[in-house]
Subunit: 300 residues, 2 copies
């Protein structure tokens, strides 16, 4: 393992711990009447996960060569994104959507509580994400830029829109272009926002943000292609969620469209595209490069 790779590996473990701790802090000292809802939100937001979005925030902010502790509000960005992502998982797992009993190796929220609570957990996590950004130590300009990005990437023109297109196309043939578009909305948009948030937090200029967006865009699609490969090849225990569910639901995937070998080659091509777009940042981008490697080579 190269020195950079070893450092990146340590850094990722430390950053995952960092965001876990920041998530705990965001729930601590929050005295509310709705204790059960708070507990259910906390259950949903904790218990692991890959924390890819927080890692992207932190790794992008690390381009500044500043310690994370010297970047005001950076943990709020990471937590906001992870809570937003968590809200989407909780709703996605509901019976009317993917009807999933298992998430991150644990029973899903509507299994532990009930459907109504899971619905409210997602709703309240979304509000909490925006609230964290609005009340962070970021500047007002940074807050507004990030909130705008999150609202776009999470809503009709992003994640929610992608999920709607996904639902509409179950059992229907999709072209590779249509499948790509769906995934760019469904998962890609939020990953791009993660990188944008990290960049905004360290005051990158619009050109720099745009160049990083190429990285994030390729990475986001690679992430989904690998997801499809894993869904088709791994078992539920390794994944921590139900494997093979896309095929069972007759959903179009990159594997169903390009076969396994084609999907693997496409993932490698996207990985290369992501890594190449980081060239201008030189060694400073080793963490972003390591995340791209992790996305390509992950087993779950």
């Amino acid at each position: 393992m190269s020195n950079h790779a070893a450092l990146a590996s340590q850094w990722m473990a430390a950053s995952a711990q960092r965001v876990d701790q920041a998530i705990e802090t965001s729930f601590d000292d929050w005295s509310v009447s709705a204790q059960q809802l708070k507990d259910a939100m906390h259950y949903a937001a904790t218990g692991g996960g890959k924390r890819i979005r927080p890692l992207l925030v932190y790794a992008t902010a690390a381009l500044s060569n500043k310690p994370l502790d010297d970047i005001p509000g950076i943990d709020d960005c990471a937590v906001a994104l992870e809570l937003f992502h968590t809200y989407s998982l909780v709703h996605d797992d509901l019976p009317s959507m993917d009807n999933d009993d298992l998430r991150r190796g644990r029973p899903t929220v509507h299994k532990v509580y009930d459907e109504a609570t899971a619905l409210l957990v997602g709703d309240a996590l979304q509000s909490m994400a925006f609230g964290l950004l609005a009340n962070s130590r970021l500047t007002e300009a940074q807050k507004v830029a990030m909130i705008s990005s999150l609202a776009t990437s999470g809503g009709l023109a992003g994640m929610a829109g992608g999920q709607a297109i996904d639902l509409e196309n179950v059992g229907k043939p999709l072209t590779k272009e249509a499948l790509e578009n769906m995934h760019r909305l469904k998962t890609g948009a939020l990953l791009r926002t993660a990188v944008q948030m990290g960049g905004i937090a360290i005051d990158l200029n619009p050109q720099q943000l745009k160049s990083l967006d190429q990285y994030a865009s390729a990475l986001g699609l690679a992430f989904q292609v690998v997801d499809d490969i894993l869904d088709a090849t791994a078992d539920s225990q390794t994944l921590g969620k139900t494997a093979g569910k896309d095929a069972a639901a007759n959903k179009p995937t990159f594997v169903s469209l390009m076969n396994l070998d084609g999907a693997r080659e496409f993932a490698r091509k996207l990985h290369l595209e992501a890594v190449e777009s980081l060239a201008v940042w030189g060694d400073n981008a080793y963490l972003l490069k390591a995340i791209a490697d992790k996305v390509l080579y992950r087993q779950s």
Copy 2:
């Protein structure tokens, strides 16, 4: 009818039209791939409703004596609140919550489309509300203050928390204090945010905002007491939604707790409290006063 009352009545009709138009504009020229989700969001957001939250925004902004057209971003505030409120109605109507087939006199979203679409409609409307504020012509400071208020009043410590408490207490006896607390969260918080948004848009000082919060707080509770009275006394056609459902669901209400006469007296007391808190504003507050009257005397 007094001159003020006649003016207020005209103003309310014009303002309801104004926000309807602004909602249309917010959907126009928004080109997205997820056309069906956009249509479903539009369906949910249009077709009437009392538009109390937008009216509160506009009436509070009118304290400045400026025409609404001269207050940048005021329509975005009104639309954001109405979309946020709409998201909560769509989710509230779902089978796992109130399981309602009728809303604003029309079939509910999950009846016209399906449950998954209704879930996404609510999710995306919430994002859209925050996005509208972030991209409005308000100042950055105004945007951040409003987004913070909306996130708080909509989330765990507000609307979503109130709904969770509501769900937990079906069929259980509640004290009047506990019922009040639940409603202050469930509906009161967002009405208070409406008044705060109108006040922030015209740059009121913290003391002025606090005094208006007393009005909004009393009004919000009055609104709910009247809701309970109407649920117990009106028919579904007049209400535009299913009447008698609280009693059917064995939910504690102000009527079940205080009887009809007690609830009516409580509503009048709250109305008086709201109106008295406007005294410092003199005649400038005639629209806010008219909204309080409308809340007390409404038939649906």
